[in-house]
Protein backbone atom coordinates (compact mmCIF):
# COMPACT_ATOMS: atom_id res chain seq x y z
CA UNK A 1 0.00 0.00 0.00
CA UNK A 2 1.46 3.41 -0.90
CA UNK A 3 2.29 5.74 1.94
CA UNK A 4 0.10 8.59 0.77
CA UNK A 5 -3.11 8.19 -1.17
CA UNK A 6 -6.77 9.08 -0.83
CA UNK A 7 -7.39 5.54 0.36
CA UNK A 8 -4.63 5.48 3.00
CA UNK A 9 -5.81 8.80 4.37
CA UNK A 10 -9.41 7.58 4.65
CA UNK A 11 -8.45 4.29 6.27
CA UNK A 12 -5.96 6.17 8.45
CA UNK A 13 -8.69 8.44 9.84
CA UNK A 14 -10.79 5.43 10.84
CA UNK A 15 -7.78 3.66 12.36
CA UNK A 16 -6.24 6.56 14.28
CA UNK A 17 -9.39 8.56 15.12
CA UNK A 18 -12.27 6.05 15.13
CA UNK A 19 -14.45 7.88 17.65
CA UNK A 20 -13.89 11.38 16.35
CA UNK A 21 -16.70 12.96 14.32
CA UNK A 22 -16.32 12.65 10.55
CA UNK A 23 -19.63 14.07 9.35
CA UNK A 24 -21.61 16.58 11.39
CA UNK A 25 -25.21 17.01 10.28
CA UNK A 26 -27.95 19.32 11.59
CA UNK A 27 -29.48 19.19 15.03
CA UNK A 28 -31.38 16.03 15.81
CA UNK A 29 -29.13 13.65 13.97
CA UNK A 30 -26.07 11.97 15.45
CA UNK A 31 -22.68 12.66 13.99
CA UNK A 32 -21.05 9.91 11.93
CA UNK A 33 -17.75 8.98 13.55
CA UNK A 34 -14.78 8.00 11.38
CA UNK A 35 -15.34 4.41 12.40
CA UNK A 36 -19.04 4.65 11.56
CA UNK A 37 -18.37 6.41 8.26
CA UNK A 38 -15.80 3.75 7.34
CA UNK A 39 -18.43 1.03 7.88
CA UNK A 40 -21.08 3.01 5.98
CA UNK A 41 -18.73 3.54 3.05
CA UNK A 42 -17.76 -0.16 3.00
CA UNK A 43 -21.45 -1.08 2.63
CA UNK A 44 -21.90 1.53 -0.12
CA UNK A 45 -18.87 0.10 -1.94
CA UNK A 46 -20.53 -3.30 -1.77
CA UNK A 47 -23.80 -1.87 -3.08
CA UNK A 48 -22.03 -0.14 -5.98
CA UNK A 49 -19.98 -3.21 -6.79
CA UNK A 50 -23.15 -5.33 -6.78
CA UNK A 51 -24.45 -2.96 -9.46
CA UNK A 52 -21.42 -3.59 -11.61
CA UNK A 53 -19.11 -0.65 -10.75
CA UNK A 54 -15.48 -1.55 -11.52
CA UNK A 55 -12.19 0.39 -11.38
CA UNK A 56 -12.12 3.13 -14.00
CA UNK A 57 -15.91 3.21 -14.35
CA UNK A 58 -17.57 6.60 -14.01
CA UNK A 59 -20.23 6.98 -11.32
CA UNK A 60 -22.34 10.11 -11.72
CA UNK A 61 -24.14 11.73 -8.80
CA UNK A 62 -26.85 14.35 -8.88
CA UNK A 63 -27.55 15.07 -5.25
CA UNK A 64 -27.94 18.02 -2.92
CA UNK A 65 -24.85 18.98 -0.90
CA UNK A 66 -24.60 17.01 2.30
CA UNK A 67 -23.32 14.03 4.21
CA UNK A 68 -24.86 11.45 1.85
CA UNK A 69 -22.83 12.78 -1.03
CA UNK A 70 -19.63 12.73 1.05
CA UNK A 71 -20.18 9.07 1.94
CA UNK A 72 -20.82 8.30 -1.74
CA UNK A 73 -17.64 9.93 -3.05
CA UNK A 74 -15.51 7.91 -0.63
CA UNK A 75 -17.28 4.73 -1.77
CA UNK A 76 -16.55 5.59 -5.40
CA UNK A 77 -12.88 6.38 -4.67
CA UNK A 78 -12.61 3.17 -2.64
CA UNK A 79 -13.52 1.19 -5.77
CA UNK A 80 -10.95 3.10 -7.86
CA UNK A 81 -13.91 4.37 -9.87
CA UNK A 82 -14.28 7.90 -11.26
CA UNK A 83 -16.41 10.49 -9.46
CA UNK A 84 -18.62 12.73 -11.61
CA UNK A 85 -20.78 15.02 -9.52
CA UNK A 86 -23.32 17.07 -11.41
CA UNK A 87 -24.01 20.41 -9.71
CA UNK A 88 -27.43 20.38 -8.13
CA UNK A 89 -28.34 23.71 -9.72
CA UNK A 90 -28.15 22.31 -13.27
CA UNK A 91 -31.40 21.85 -15.13
CA UNK A 92 -32.36 18.26 -15.94
CA UNK A 93 -31.41 18.82 -19.59
CA UNK A 94 -27.95 20.08 -18.64
CA UNK A 95 -27.45 17.20 -16.20
CA UNK A 96 -28.44 14.75 -18.90
CA UNK A 97 -25.96 16.34 -21.33
CA UNK A 98 -23.07 16.13 -18.87
CA UNK A 99 -24.03 12.63 -17.79
CA UNK A 100 -24.06 11.44 -21.41
CA UNK A 101 -20.69 13.01 -21.98
CA UNK A 102 -19.13 11.19 -19.03
CA UNK A 103 -20.80 7.88 -19.95
CA UNK A 104 -21.18 6.59 -16.41
CA UNK A 105 -22.16 3.01 -15.61
CA UNK A 106 -24.47 4.30 -12.90
CA UNK A 107 -26.20 7.53 -11.91
CA UNK A 108 -27.05 8.10 -8.26
CA UNK A 109 -29.55 10.75 -7.26
CA UNK A 110 -31.84 11.81 -4.50
CA UNK A 111 -35.52 11.08 -4.98
CA UNK A 112 -36.26 14.35 -6.81
CA UNK A 113 -33.32 13.89 -9.17
CA UNK A 114 -34.37 10.32 -9.97
CA UNK A 115 -37.86 11.51 -10.89
CA UNK A 116 -36.47 14.24 -13.16
CA UNK A 117 -34.01 11.85 -14.75
CA UNK A 118 -36.76 9.35 -15.31
CA UNK A 119 -38.48 11.99 -17.42
CA UNK A 120 -35.33 12.70 -19.40
CA UNK A 121 -35.04 9.11 -20.65
CA UNK A 122 -31.28 9.02 -20.76
CA UNK A 123 -30.97 5.27 -21.07
CA UNK A 124 -28.54 5.41 -18.16
CA UNK A 125 -29.17 3.25 -15.10
CA UNK A 126 -30.37 5.54 -12.32
CA UNK A 127 -30.63 4.59 -8.66
CA UNK A 128 -32.00 6.47 -5.68
CA UNK A 129 -29.31 6.95 -3.02
CA UNK A 130 -31.64 5.74 -0.29
CA UNK A 131 -32.25 2.55 -2.23
CA UNK A 132 -28.50 2.11 -2.78
CA UNK A 133 -27.83 2.49 0.90
CA UNK A 134 -30.57 0.02 1.80
CA UNK A 135 -29.03 -2.66 -0.42
CA UNK A 136 -27.92 -5.70 1.51
CA UNK A 137 -24.71 -6.45 -0.32
CA UNK A 138 -21.51 -7.70 1.22
CA UNK A 139 -19.30 -4.81 2.38
CA UNK A 140 -16.39 -4.76 0.02
CA UNK A 141 -12.71 -4.14 0.66
CA UNK A 142 -11.36 -0.96 -0.81
CA UNK A 143 -9.32 -1.12 -4.00
CA UNK A 144 -6.14 0.95 -4.17
CA UNK A 145 -6.11 3.14 -7.28
CA UNK A 146 -3.00 3.76 -9.32
CA UNK A 147 -1.89 7.34 -8.53
CA UNK A 148 -1.97 8.31 -12.20
CA UNK A 149 -5.49 6.97 -12.71
CA UNK A 150 -8.60 9.12 -12.78
CA UNK A 151 -10.29 10.05 -9.52
CA UNK A 152 -12.83 12.45 -10.94
CA UNK A 153 -14.18 14.46 -13.84
CA UNK A 154 -14.99 18.09 -13.03
CA UNK A 155 -17.08 19.84 -15.67
CA UNK A 156 -16.21 23.43 -16.40
CA UNK A 157 -17.09 26.04 -18.98
CA UNK A 158 -14.49 27.84 -21.06
CA UNK A 159 -14.98 31.08 -22.93
CA UNK A 160 -16.29 29.18 -25.92
CA UNK A 161 -18.14 25.96 -26.49
CA UNK A 162 -19.78 23.46 -24.18
CA UNK A 163 -18.76 22.27 -20.72
CA UNK A 164 -15.78 19.94 -20.67
CA UNK A 165 -14.85 17.31 -18.09
CA UNK A 166 -11.44 18.07 -16.61
CA UNK A 167 -9.66 14.79 -15.86
CA UNK A 168 -8.40 14.78 -12.29
CA UNK A 169 -6.03 12.03 -11.14
CA UNK A 170 -5.50 10.64 -7.67
CA UNK A 171 -2.06 12.23 -7.72
CA UNK A 172 -3.54 15.66 -8.64
CA UNK A 173 -5.81 15.51 -5.58
CA UNK A 174 -3.15 14.19 -3.20
CA UNK A 175 -0.56 16.78 -4.21
CA UNK A 176 -3.12 19.58 -3.96
CA UNK A 177 -4.19 18.38 -0.51
CA UNK A 178 -0.59 18.46 0.66
CA UNK A 179 0.11 21.94 -0.65
CA UNK A 180 -3.12 23.30 0.84
CA UNK A 181 -2.54 21.70 4.22
CA UNK A 182 0.94 23.22 4.33
CA UNK A 183 -0.88 26.46 5.17
CA UNK A 184 -4.29 25.39 6.53
CA UNK A 185 -2.66 22.82 8.87
CA UNK A 186 -5.76 20.85 9.79
CA UNK A 187 -5.91 19.04 13.11
CA UNK A 188 -8.32 16.33 14.28
CA UNK A 189 -10.33 18.93 16.25
CA UNK A 190 -11.07 20.97 13.14
CA UNK A 191 -14.60 21.20 11.75
CA UNK A 192 -14.72 22.28 8.11
CA UNK A 193 -17.93 23.71 6.64
CA UNK A 194 -18.66 21.51 3.61
CA UNK A 195 -19.89 24.39 1.48
CA UNK A 196 -17.96 23.92 -1.74
CA UNK A 197 -19.72 21.52 -4.13
CA UNK A 198 -18.30 18.06 -4.79
CA UNK A 199 -18.53 18.80 -8.50
CA UNK A 200 -15.46 21.04 -8.09
CA UNK A 201 -11.93 20.09 -7.07
CA UNK A 202 -12.26 22.35 -4.06
CA UNK A 203 -15.25 20.46 -2.69
CA UNK A 204 -13.48 17.15 -3.20
CA UNK A 205 -10.40 18.51 -1.44
CA UNK A 206 -12.44 19.46 1.63
CA UNK A 207 -13.33 15.79 2.08
CA UNK A 208 -9.73 14.73 1.44
CA UNK A 209 -8.27 17.28 3.86
CA UNK A 210 -10.69 16.20 6.58
CA UNK A 211 -9.76 12.54 6.16
CA UNK A 212 -6.04 13.30 6.12
CA UNK A 213 -6.33 15.10 9.47
CA UNK A 214 -9.09 13.04 11.06
CA UNK A 215 -11.19 16.23 11.12
CA UNK A 216 -14.95 16.61 10.56
CA UNK A 217 -16.97 17.99 7.65
CA UNK A 218 -20.05 19.95 8.73
CA UNK A 219 -23.08 19.82 6.46
CA UNK A 220 -23.96 23.34 5.27
CA UNK A 221 -27.43 24.77 5.91
CA UNK A 222 -30.13 24.03 3.37
CA UNK A 223 -31.17 27.66 3.53
CA UNK A 224 -28.94 29.92 1.48
CA UNK A 225 -29.26 32.97 3.71
CA UNK A 226 -26.38 34.53 5.67
CA UNK A 227 -28.23 34.33 9.01
CA UNK A 228 -28.62 30.58 8.67
CA UNK A 229 -24.98 30.22 7.61
CA UNK A 230 -23.84 32.09 10.76
CA UNK A 231 -26.16 30.00 12.94
CA UNK A 232 -24.75 26.74 11.53
CA UNK A 233 -21.18 27.94 11.98
CA UNK A 234 -21.88 28.72 15.64
CA UNK A 235 -24.00 25.68 16.46
CA UNK A 236 -21.63 23.18 14.84
CA UNK A 237 -18.45 24.87 16.05
CA UNK A 238 -17.07 25.34 12.54
CA UNK A 239 -13.36 26.19 12.68
CA UNK A 240 -12.53 26.53 9.00
CA UNK A 241 -14.50 27.77 6.03
CA UNK A 242 -13.93 27.99 2.29
CA UNK A 243 -16.42 29.92 0.16
CA UNK A 244 -16.74 32.02 -3.00
CA UNK A 245 -16.81 35.84 -2.93
CA UNK A 246 -20.62 36.33 -3.04
CA UNK A 247 -21.00 34.25 0.12
CA UNK A 248 -18.28 36.23 1.87
CA UNK A 249 -19.86 39.54 0.86
CA UNK A 250 -23.34 38.54 2.08
CA UNK A 251 -22.12 36.91 5.29
CA UNK A 252 -19.74 39.70 6.20
CA UNK A 253 -22.33 42.43 5.53
CA UNK A 254 -24.94 40.56 7.53
CA UNK A 255 -22.62 40.19 10.53
CA UNK A 256 -21.67 43.88 10.44
CA UNK A 257 -25.33 44.92 10.23
CA UNK A 258 -26.18 42.79 13.26
CA UNK A 259 -22.96 43.69 15.10
CA UNK A 260 -22.12 40.01 15.36
CA UNK A 261 -18.86 38.14 15.04
CA UNK A 262 -17.77 34.55 14.42
CA UNK A 263 -14.85 34.03 16.79
CA UNK A 264 -14.83 30.26 16.33
CA UNK A 265 -13.39 30.46 12.80
CA UNK A 266 -9.62 30.01 12.81
CA UNK A 267 -9.32 30.31 9.03
CA UNK A 268 -11.34 31.64 6.14
CA UNK A 269 -10.29 31.06 2.57
CA UNK A 270 -11.51 32.23 -0.80
CA UNK A 271 -10.86 32.24 -4.50
CA UNK A 272 -12.92 32.59 -7.62
CA UNK A 273 -12.95 36.31 -8.06
CA UNK A 274 -12.58 39.65 -6.44
CA UNK A 275 -14.00 40.72 -3.11
CA UNK A 276 -14.72 44.46 -2.83
CA UNK A 277 -12.17 46.39 -0.75
CA UNK A 278 -14.86 47.52 1.71
CA UNK A 279 -15.71 43.87 2.48
CA UNK A 280 -12.09 42.73 2.90
CA UNK A 281 -11.65 45.45 5.51
CA UNK A 282 -14.57 44.02 7.52
CA UNK A 283 -12.96 40.59 7.95
CA UNK A 284 -10.73 41.62 10.86
CA UNK A 285 -13.89 42.61 12.78
CA UNK A 286 -16.29 39.79 11.91
CA UNK A 287 -13.75 36.94 11.88
CA UNK A 288 -11.51 38.22 14.70
CA UNK A 289 -9.52 35.00 15.21
CA UNK A 290 -9.31 33.89 11.61
CA UNK A 291 -6.27 33.82 9.39
CA UNK A 292 -7.40 34.94 5.91
CA UNK A 293 -6.07 32.91 2.96
CA UNK A 294 -6.79 34.35 -0.46
CA UNK A 295 -5.99 31.82 -3.18
CA UNK A 296 -6.21 31.28 -6.91
CA UNK A 297 -6.68 28.30 -9.14
CA UNK A 298 -8.60 26.92 -12.09
CA UNK A 299 -10.32 23.59 -12.51
CA UNK A 300 -7.47 22.65 -14.86
CA UNK A 301 -4.79 23.55 -12.27
CA UNK A 302 -6.34 23.96 -8.88
CA UNK A 303 -5.45 25.69 -5.60
CA UNK A 304 -2.02 26.69 -6.85
CA UNK A 305 -1.33 30.02 -5.14
CA UNK A 306 -1.89 31.49 -1.67
CA UNK A 307 -1.37 34.67 0.31
CA UNK A 308 0.49 33.03 3.22
CA UNK A 309 -0.29 33.44 6.92
CA UNK A 310 0.38 36.91 8.20
CA UNK A 311 0.52 38.53 4.78
CA UNK A 312 -3.17 39.23 4.14
CA UNK A 313 -3.28 42.74 5.60
CA UNK A 314 -0.32 43.85 3.50
CA UNK A 315 -1.54 42.26 0.28
CA UNK A 316 -5.28 42.85 0.19
CA UNK A 317 -6.57 41.92 -3.27
CA UNK A 318 -3.56 39.81 -4.23
CA UNK A 319 -4.04 36.21 -5.41
CA UNK A 320 -0.87 35.24 -3.58
CA UNK A 321 2.40 33.49 -4.40
CA UNK A 322 2.69 30.10 -6.09
CA UNK A 323 2.65 27.31 -3.49
CA UNK A 324 5.90 25.33 -3.09
CA UNK A 325 6.19 22.86 -5.93
CA UNK A 326 3.84 24.80 -8.22
CA UNK A 327 5.30 26.12 -11.45
CA UNK A 328 3.83 29.31 -12.88
CA UNK A 329 5.20 31.58 -15.57
CA UNK A 330 3.84 34.95 -16.75
CA UNK A 331 4.21 35.19 -20.51
CA UNK A 332 4.14 38.70 -21.97
CA UNK A 333 2.97 39.92 -25.35
CA UNK A 334 6.62 39.62 -26.45
CA UNK A 335 6.35 35.85 -25.79
CA UNK A 336 8.97 36.06 -23.03
CA UNK A 337 8.57 35.25 -19.32
CA UNK A 338 8.43 38.35 -17.14
CA UNK A 339 6.74 40.23 -14.37
CA UNK A 340 3.51 40.83 -16.33
CA UNK A 341 1.65 38.57 -18.70
CA UNK A 342 -0.72 35.65 -19.06
CA UNK A 343 -0.50 33.28 -16.10
CA UNK A 344 0.49 29.84 -17.36
CA UNK A 345 0.68 26.79 -15.09
CA UNK A 346 3.07 24.00 -16.01
CA UNK A 347 4.31 20.72 -14.57
CA UNK A 348 2.61 18.36 -12.16
CA UNK A 349 0.06 20.85 -10.82
CA UNK A 350 -1.68 20.68 -14.21
CA UNK A 351 -4.40 18.09 -14.79
CA UNK A 352 -4.20 15.75 -17.75
CA UNK A 353 -6.80 17.13 -20.12
CA UNK A 354 -10.47 17.16 -21.06
CA UNK A 355 -12.41 13.92 -21.09
CA UNK A 356 -12.75 12.58 -24.65
CA UNK A 357 -11.93 15.94 -26.21
CA UNK A 358 -8.53 15.45 -27.85
CA UNK A 359 -8.69 18.61 -29.98
CA UNK A 360 -9.65 20.92 -27.14
CA UNK A 361 -7.07 19.25 -24.91
CA UNK A 362 -4.40 19.76 -27.57
CA UNK A 363 -5.39 23.41 -27.82
CA UNK A 364 -5.57 24.19 -24.10
CA UNK A 365 -2.89 21.93 -22.62
CA UNK A 366 0.06 22.25 -24.97
CA UNK A 367 2.48 25.18 -25.30
CA UNK A 368 1.83 27.55 -28.19
CA UNK A 369 4.54 27.12 -30.85
CA UNK A 370 6.06 30.52 -30.06
CA UNK A 371 6.43 29.47 -26.39
CA UNK A 372 7.80 25.97 -26.91
CA UNK A 373 11.30 26.97 -25.74
CA UNK A 374 9.94 28.00 -22.34
CA UNK A 375 8.89 24.47 -21.38
CA UNK A 376 10.37 20.99 -21.15
CA UNK A 377 9.34 18.68 -24.01
CA UNK A 378 6.07 16.90 -23.27
CA UNK A 379 5.47 18.99 -20.15
CA UNK A 380 1.83 19.64 -19.32
CA UNK A 381 0.96 23.30 -19.69
CA UNK A 382 -2.26 25.23 -19.20
CA UNK A 383 -2.97 28.81 -20.27
CA UNK A 384 -5.31 30.49 -17.78
CA UNK A 385 -6.41 33.43 -19.92
CA UNK A 386 -5.78 35.66 -16.89
CA UNK A 387 -3.43 38.61 -17.31
CA UNK A 388 -1.49 38.91 -14.07
CA UNK A 389 1.42 40.97 -12.69
CA UNK A 390 3.98 40.10 -10.02
CA UNK A 391 5.18 42.60 -7.40
CA UNK A 392 8.57 42.94 -5.72
CA UNK A 393 7.64 40.41 -3.02
CA UNK A 394 6.65 37.80 -5.59
CA UNK A 395 2.93 38.30 -5.02
CA UNK A 396 0.60 38.00 -8.01
CA UNK A 397 -2.18 40.45 -8.83
CA UNK A 398 -5.01 39.93 -11.33
CA UNK A 399 -5.07 42.55 -14.08
CA UNK A 400 -7.68 41.51 -16.68
CA UNK A 401 -9.13 38.61 -18.68
CA UNK A 402 -7.53 37.91 -22.02
CA UNK A 403 -10.76 36.78 -23.66
CA UNK A 404 -14.53 36.99 -23.47
CA UNK A 405 -14.92 34.55 -20.59
CA UNK A 406 -17.24 35.89 -17.95
CA UNK A 407 -16.99 35.06 -14.26
CA UNK A 408 -20.15 35.62 -12.26
CA UNK A 409 -20.45 34.66 -8.59
CA UNK A 410 -17.38 32.46 -8.97
CA UNK A 411 -18.81 30.54 -11.93
CA UNK A 412 -17.20 30.60 -15.35
CA UNK A 413 -19.74 31.29 -18.06
CA UNK A 414 -19.25 30.73 -21.75
CA UNK A 415 -20.85 33.59 -23.70
CA UNK A 416 -21.14 31.27 -26.68
CA UNK A 417 -23.10 28.68 -24.68
CA UNK A 418 -25.57 31.30 -23.45
CA UNK A 419 -25.95 32.82 -26.92
CA UNK A 420 -26.76 29.37 -28.30
CA UNK A 421 -29.43 28.86 -25.64
CA UNK A 422 -30.92 32.29 -26.40
CA UNK A 423 -31.09 31.54 -30.12
CA UNK A 424 -32.55 28.09 -29.45
CA UNK A 425 -35.59 29.74 -27.86
CA UNK A 426 -36.80 30.78 -31.31
CA UNK A 427 -37.77 34.21 -29.96
CA UNK A 428 -34.63 36.00 -31.05
CA UNK A 429 -32.83 36.50 -34.37
CA UNK A 430 -29.41 37.44 -33.06
CA UNK A 431 -27.78 37.67 -29.64
CA UNK A 432 -24.56 38.85 -28.04
CA UNK A 433 -23.88 38.02 -24.38
CA UNK A 434 -21.33 39.90 -22.28
CA UNK A 435 -20.41 40.74 -18.67
CA UNK A 436 -20.97 43.98 -16.78
CA UNK A 437 -19.49 44.93 -13.37
CA UNK A 438 -21.51 43.83 -10.32
CA UNK A 439 -20.54 44.54 -6.74
CA UNK A 440 -21.40 41.16 -5.25
CA UNK A 441 -21.01 38.85 -8.22
CA UNK A 442 -17.93 40.47 -9.78
CA UNK A 443 -19.69 40.42 -13.12
CA UNK A 444 -23.34 40.01 -14.09
CA UNK A 445 -24.57 38.69 -17.44
CA UNK A 446 -26.12 41.01 -19.99
CA UNK A 447 -27.44 40.34 -23.49
CA UNK A 448 -28.20 42.33 -26.59
CA UNK A 449 -30.98 40.69 -28.55
CA UNK A 450 -32.80 41.27 -31.80
CA UNK A 451 -36.27 40.01 -30.92
CA UNK A 452 -38.43 38.01 -33.30
CA UNK A 453 -41.88 39.61 -33.51
CA UNK A 454 -43.33 41.83 -30.79
CA UNK A 455 -40.35 42.81 -28.56
CA UNK A 456 -41.75 42.60 -25.00
CA UNK A 457 -43.58 39.38 -25.76
CA UNK A 458 -40.46 37.88 -27.32
CA UNK A 459 -38.39 38.85 -24.30
CA UNK A 460 -40.92 37.31 -21.89
CA UNK A 461 -41.05 34.10 -23.90
CA UNK A 462 -37.23 34.06 -24.07
CA UNK A 463 -36.95 34.26 -20.28
CA UNK A 464 -39.45 31.44 -19.84
CA UNK A 465 -37.35 29.31 -22.17
CA UNK A 466 -34.03 30.20 -20.53
CA UNK A 467 -35.27 29.25 -17.08
CA UNK A 468 -35.81 25.69 -18.24
CA UNK A 469 -32.61 25.51 -20.27
CA UNK A 470 -29.99 27.19 -18.10
CA UNK A 471 -28.85 27.25 -14.47
CA UNK A 472 -29.64 30.39 -12.46
CA UNK A 473 -26.15 31.91 -12.77
CA UNK A 474 -26.27 31.58 -16.58
CA UNK A 475 -29.40 33.63 -17.20
CA UNK A 476 -28.70 37.24 -18.23
CA UNK A 477 -29.85 39.85 -15.74
CA UNK A 478 -30.02 42.67 -18.26
CA UNK A 479 -31.47 42.66 -21.75
CA UNK A 480 -31.02 45.38 -24.33
CA UNK A 481 -33.31 45.11 -27.32
CA UNK A 482 -31.70 46.20 -30.57
CA UNK A 483 -33.64 45.95 -33.80
CA UNK A 484 -31.77 45.03 -37.00
CA UNK A 485 -29.81 45.42 -39.12
CA UNK A 486 -26.92 45.02 -36.73
CA UNK A 487 -23.49 46.63 -37.41
CA UNK A 488 -20.93 44.36 -39.05
CA UNK A 489 -17.14 44.39 -38.92
CA UNK A 490 -14.92 44.54 -42.00
CA UNK A 491 -14.93 40.74 -42.35
CA UNK A 492 -18.73 40.54 -42.29
CA UNK A 493 -19.14 39.32 -38.70
CA UNK A 494 -21.42 40.95 -36.18
CA UNK A 495 -19.56 43.84 -34.53
CA UNK A 496 -19.79 42.60 -30.94
CA UNK A 497 -17.85 45.49 -29.43
CA UNK A 498 -20.08 48.12 -31.05
CA UNK A 499 -23.23 46.31 -29.94
CA UNK A 500 -21.93 45.87 -26.39
CA UNK A 501 -20.99 49.55 -26.21
CA UNK A 502 -24.44 50.60 -27.42
CA UNK A 503 -26.10 48.18 -25.01
CA UNK A 504 -24.18 49.57 -22.04
CA UNK A 505 -25.38 53.06 -22.91
CA UNK A 506 -28.91 51.82 -23.38
CA UNK A 507 -28.84 50.00 -20.03
CA UNK A 508 -27.22 52.91 -18.21
CA UNK A 509 -24.29 50.73 -17.12
CA UNK A 510 -20.74 52.01 -16.85
CA UNK A 511 -17.82 50.17 -18.42
Amino acid sequence: MPSESLNTWFVGAATVHPSRPALVTPVGKEDDTWDGLNARVARLRGALQARGVKPGDRVAAWMPRGSDEVALVWAVWGLAAVWVSLPHKLTAAQARWQANDAEPVLMVGDTAACTEFGRERTGLPVVDFAELEATTAKPCRSIEADPGSLAALAYTSGSTGWPKGVMISHRNLCEAAERIDAYLRHRPEDRLLGLMPLSSPWGMLQCVLAARAGAAVVQPPLVALPGEMAATIRAAGVTGMAALPPTWVQLSDWLIAGEEILPGLRYVTTSGGLIPERVWSQFVRVFPRAEVFATYGLTEAFRTTVVPAGWFARKVGSIGRPCPGVEIVLIGEDNRPGETGELVHHGTCVTSGYWRRPQETEKAYAPRPQHAALFAPGERVHYSGDMVKRDGDGFLWFVARRDAQIKTGGFRVSAEEIEAAVLASGCVRQAVVFGVPHETLGQALAAVIEPQGEPEGAKAELLRHLRTALASHQIPRHFHLASGPWPLTANGKVDRLALIAAAKIGLGIGT
Binding site: L222, A224, L225, P246, Q250, D253, W254, I256, R467, S472
Partner: protein
Amino acid sequence: MATRTPSTDDIRKFLSETFSLPAAELKDDSPLFSSGRLDSFHLIEMLGGLETTYGVKVSPGEVSLENLDTPHRMAEFILRKTGMKK
Protein backbone atom coordinates in the same frame (compact mmCIF):
# COMPACT_ATOMS: atom_id res chain seq x y z
CA MET B 1 -38.19 53.74 -9.65
CA ALA B 2 -41.45 51.90 -9.13
CA THR B 3 -43.43 52.49 -5.94
CA ARG B 4 -46.13 49.88 -6.21
CA THR B 5 -47.67 48.54 -3.06
CA PRO B 6 -47.92 44.83 -3.58
CA SER B 7 -50.47 42.37 -2.38
CA THR B 8 -49.41 38.80 -1.69
CA ASP B 9 -50.81 37.89 -5.10
CA ASP B 10 -48.53 40.48 -6.73
CA ILE B 11 -45.55 38.91 -4.97
CA ARG B 12 -46.52 35.41 -6.06
CA LYS B 13 -46.68 36.66 -9.65
CA PHE B 14 -43.31 38.46 -9.29
CA LEU B 15 -41.67 35.31 -7.93
CA SER B 16 -43.36 33.07 -10.46
CA GLU B 17 -42.05 35.21 -13.31
CA THR B 18 -38.60 35.88 -11.88
CA PHE B 19 -37.81 32.26 -11.08
CA SER B 20 -40.08 30.40 -13.51
CA LEU B 21 -41.94 28.73 -10.65
CA PRO B 22 -45.37 27.53 -11.70
CA ALA B 23 -47.80 30.01 -10.14
CA ALA B 24 -50.25 27.27 -9.15
CA GLU B 25 -47.65 25.62 -6.91
CA LEU B 26 -46.70 28.87 -5.19
CA LYS B 27 -48.94 29.41 -2.17
CA ASP B 28 -48.99 32.47 0.10
CA ASP B 29 -46.98 30.49 2.66
CA SER B 30 -44.80 28.43 0.34
CA PRO B 31 -41.29 28.32 1.85
CA LEU B 32 -38.79 29.69 -0.64
CA PHE B 33 -35.39 29.56 1.06
CA SER B 34 -36.11 27.27 4.01
CA SER B 35 -37.11 24.57 1.55
CA GLY B 36 -33.86 24.95 -0.36
CA ARG B 37 -35.90 25.83 -3.44
CA LEU B 38 -34.04 29.11 -3.92
CA ASP B 39 -30.26 29.24 -3.59
CA SER B 40 -27.74 32.01 -3.02
CA PHE B 41 -27.80 33.00 -6.68
CA HIS B 42 -31.56 33.33 -6.58
CA LEU B 43 -31.17 35.53 -3.52
CA ILE B 44 -29.00 38.00 -5.40
CA GLU B 45 -31.50 37.96 -8.28
CA MET B 46 -34.37 38.52 -5.86
CA LEU B 47 -32.72 41.47 -4.14
CA GLY B 48 -32.12 43.05 -7.53
CA GLY B 49 -35.71 42.38 -8.57
CA LEU B 50 -37.17 43.87 -5.40
CA GLU B 51 -35.21 47.03 -6.02
CA THR B 52 -36.21 47.33 -9.67
CA THR B 53 -39.85 46.36 -9.30
CA TYR B 54 -40.77 47.81 -5.89
CA GLY B 55 -38.04 50.38 -5.30
CA VAL B 56 -37.04 48.55 -2.13
CA LYS B 57 -33.36 48.35 -1.16
CA VAL B 58 -32.96 45.46 1.27
CA SER B 59 -30.17 46.15 3.76
CA PRO B 60 -27.87 43.24 4.72
CA GLY B 61 -29.42 42.90 8.18
CA GLU B 62 -32.89 42.56 6.65
CA VAL B 63 -31.95 39.49 4.60
CA SER B 64 -33.74 36.93 6.74
CA LEU B 65 -36.31 34.15 6.63
CA GLU B 66 -38.68 36.38 8.59
CA ASN B 67 -38.72 38.98 5.84
CA LEU B 68 -38.27 36.95 2.68
CA ASP B 69 -39.11 33.28 3.05
CA THR B 70 -42.72 33.26 1.80
CA PRO B 71 -44.73 35.44 -0.61
CA HIS B 72 -46.86 36.63 2.30
CA ARG B 73 -43.85 37.64 4.41
CA MET B 74 -42.27 39.36 1.44
CA ALA B 75 -45.39 41.44 0.77
CA GLU B 76 -45.58 42.47 4.44
CA PHE B 77 -41.89 43.35 4.44
CA ILE B 78 -42.23 45.57 1.36
CA LEU B 79 -45.27 47.31 2.85
CA ARG B 80 -43.28 48.02 6.03
CA LYS B 81 -40.29 49.29 4.04
CA THR B 82 -42.35 51.59 1.86
CA GLY B 83 -44.22 52.86 4.92
CA MET B 84 -47.54 51.87 3.42
CA LYS B 85 -48.60 49.50 6.20
CA LYS B 86 -51.33 50.94 8.35
